[in-house]
Amino acid sequence: MGIGSVFEAASGSVTRRDFIKVCSAAAAAVGLPAWAGEKMAEKVAKGQKPSVIWLHYQECTGCTESLLRSSAPDVAELILDLVSLDYHETLFAASGKQLEAALEKAMEENKGEYIVVVEGAIPLKDDGIYCYVGGEKAAATLKRVAADAAAVIAIGSCASWGGIPASYPNPTNAVGAPQVLAGLPRPIITLPGCPANPYNLLGTVLQYATFRSLPKLDSQNRPLFAYGRVIHEDCQRRAHFDAGRFAQLFGDEGHRNGHCLYKLGCKGPQTHANCALMDFCEVPGAWPVGIGHPCVGCTEQGILFGGDTKRETPIYTNLPIEKPTAPLAYPGVGPAQGRIAPAATAVAGLAIGAVAGAAFAASRKLAKEDRDDEGKG
């Protein structure tokens, strides 16, 4: 069976073309070349799908939902077809002991090869009793499942560093997956966001599935392709910022004209994310700033939800700019001004020289005349 027939059979509505498009988009999102998309599609057709175990803890399921609510129909299905989703509490029809059995089976069959996706924060207070799933504490499950995983992906701010549950005063001492799994000799990738952009997940997983490699990460284990720049650097309203055109109040003329939202508290200048480049739900402009609300900094610990014991920053309070515009865009304090024409300099020099020379010559002539006169008489 060819690729097309597999999917036509499975979904009944997706063509091979559409499928390769999705793969190419995912490849592009990760910064892979276009041909990688086809390779991904091939692997899938050959049945080489990586196993994914998706764990949920203190979460709202928003990250899963954002994956499912992609606007292009059946893309969700495609994503789910690109991987072998072997455990997912929301999507699976089964529950209870059957579900737990499926988890154990998947872990055993794909030992050392499966990817763990974590959604939600993990509480640690009072020995972690505030989140039990299937009779086991969250922290314990996570450690156990991650121990034999090939890689761990923490999706969403909650799993990345604590997110909403970790907001002050953080009554359950909620932390992110990297903290629970500290010391684990497995790559841990965090994809913060509230929700995380599903394409970031897609790209990461597909890169692993196709090339068995993971994207380059920053110091907080975030893939650089998505979190290397701040929103401010890629924002569509940046030109307004540079021209000093701000919305002063919601609904005023500036706001209606799409001016920069910095004055209203946009956290874009300090928030690392690619929301400006990757719209949500594949709708152009479907991200907070695009629809007229300042970025709230949902990916960054310490901005929106605080995290740890840090106090969060109010949504409508603005922050200093982390990376100001390159110095060349500003005039210096003493810019060079005034022009000096070399021709004029030459002319002036000659004129002065001529006058001085003439005066000197005249004085010599007169002096000589007088001396001669004296000599004579």
């Binding site: 910022f241 540079d242 021209a243 000093g244 055109r245 701000f246 002063q248 910095y262 004055k263 200048p269 603005n318 200093p320 700019i321 100001p324 515009t325 110095p327 500003y330 005039p331 210096g332 304090v333 003493g334 810019p335 001004q337």
Partner: protein
């Protein structure tokens, strides 16, 4: 007459010198009034967004300055000029940098007001240094006198005026009386408008609350050049000089200069005395010439 010419001259010279010496500090200092308005600019807060620069152009109906940019596609002045009343510059000192908003300092004792021939530049009761083109001859002495090089001239028009910030005393965008546009739009509160005394107190409070944050732990404009109504705070690593604010003596240059001037011309004594003396010298010589020395067709005194 026993008064010799020599003694009169000696007297004049001595009197003149005494007048100068006596008057050198006689011109009273003029600090800011209690109700003077002004601005406070905190360079540690400014993010260089230039909203102030744009708002100023709009509020004052100033044309864009497109010469610096190829294609002339946007407004990018290099400095204050005939169409720019405030500008944000990048101040660099070694590894550190800060943004600085530059405009008229609205000095307490302005040099420009002192030198303006017909008072086109004058100080309003609320401390603003205002410009009126109706009595301006365009001599540009104000440009020479201002220690901050603020007043700018329109060089490329047959009907030029001097251009400088006037704290939006005459806004062209219908928001007359709301204070300066720059302070209205600043997203960070880096530039604030209010009573100078209150702003100075606030600035000092900021210094007190964050020791080690501000350069020299002081507010520029409190005493510099006799005091200015626009005050500046700079981050620790960036000096006021790097921001473009010159080191000025505590006595306003206008006060020092005027003291000497007024000393020399006290009550007009010196000019009148000189005129009287020269007339007397000529008239005294005249009778001698008429009696025996005048050449034909030639009168002494031509």
């Amino acid at each position: 007459m026993t008064i010799s010419r020599r003694s009169v001259l000696q007297l004049l010279a001595a009197g003149g010198a005494a007048a100068i010496a006596d008057r050198a500090d006689a011109r009273d200092p003029r600090p800011s009034g209690p109700d003077d308005v002004g601005m406070l600019f905190d360079a540690t807060l400014c993010v260089g967004c230039r909203a102030c620069q744009s708002a100023c152009k709009e509020a004052n109906a100033l044309p864009a300055d497109r010469e610096q940019v190829p294609g002339g596609i946007y407004d990018a002045p290099l400095d204050l000029n005939g169409s720019t009343k405030t500008i944000v510059k990048l101040a660099v000192q070694g590894e550190a940098s800060a943004y600085v908003k530059t405009q008229c300092m609205h000095c307490a004792d302005p040099s420009c007001v002192s030198v303006c021939m017909a008072g086109a530049l004058h100080k309003l009761p609320n401390g603003v240094v205002a410009y009126g083109k109706d009595t301006c001859v365009g001599c540009r002495y104000c440009q020479i006198a201002c220690p901050f090089n603020v007043p700018k001239f329109q060089w490329h028009t047959a009907v030029p005026v001097i251009v400088k910030c006037e704290l939006c005393r005459d806004r062209k965008d219908g928001k007359q009386g709301k204070g300066p546009a720059c302070c209205e739009v600043c997203p960070r509160g880096a530039v604030k408008y209010g009573k100078r005394s209150a702003l100075l107190a606030e600035a000092k409070e900021r210094i007190r609350q964050s020791p080690g944050r501000y350069f020299e732990e002081r507010v520029f404009g409190e005493l510099d050049g006799g005091g200015t109504n626009v005050l500046y705070l700079s981050p620790k690593e960036v000096s006021f000089k790097a921001l473009g604010l010159p080191a000025l003596p505590r006595t306003a240059p206008a006060a020092s200069a005027e003291a000497v001037q007024h000393g020399i011309y006290t009550l007009g004594i010196a000019p009148v005395a000189l005129y009287a003396y020269v007339t007397w010298a000529q008239l005294r010589a005249r009778p001698k010439a008429e009696s025996g020395g005048a050449k034909p067709g030639h009168a002494e005194g031509e």
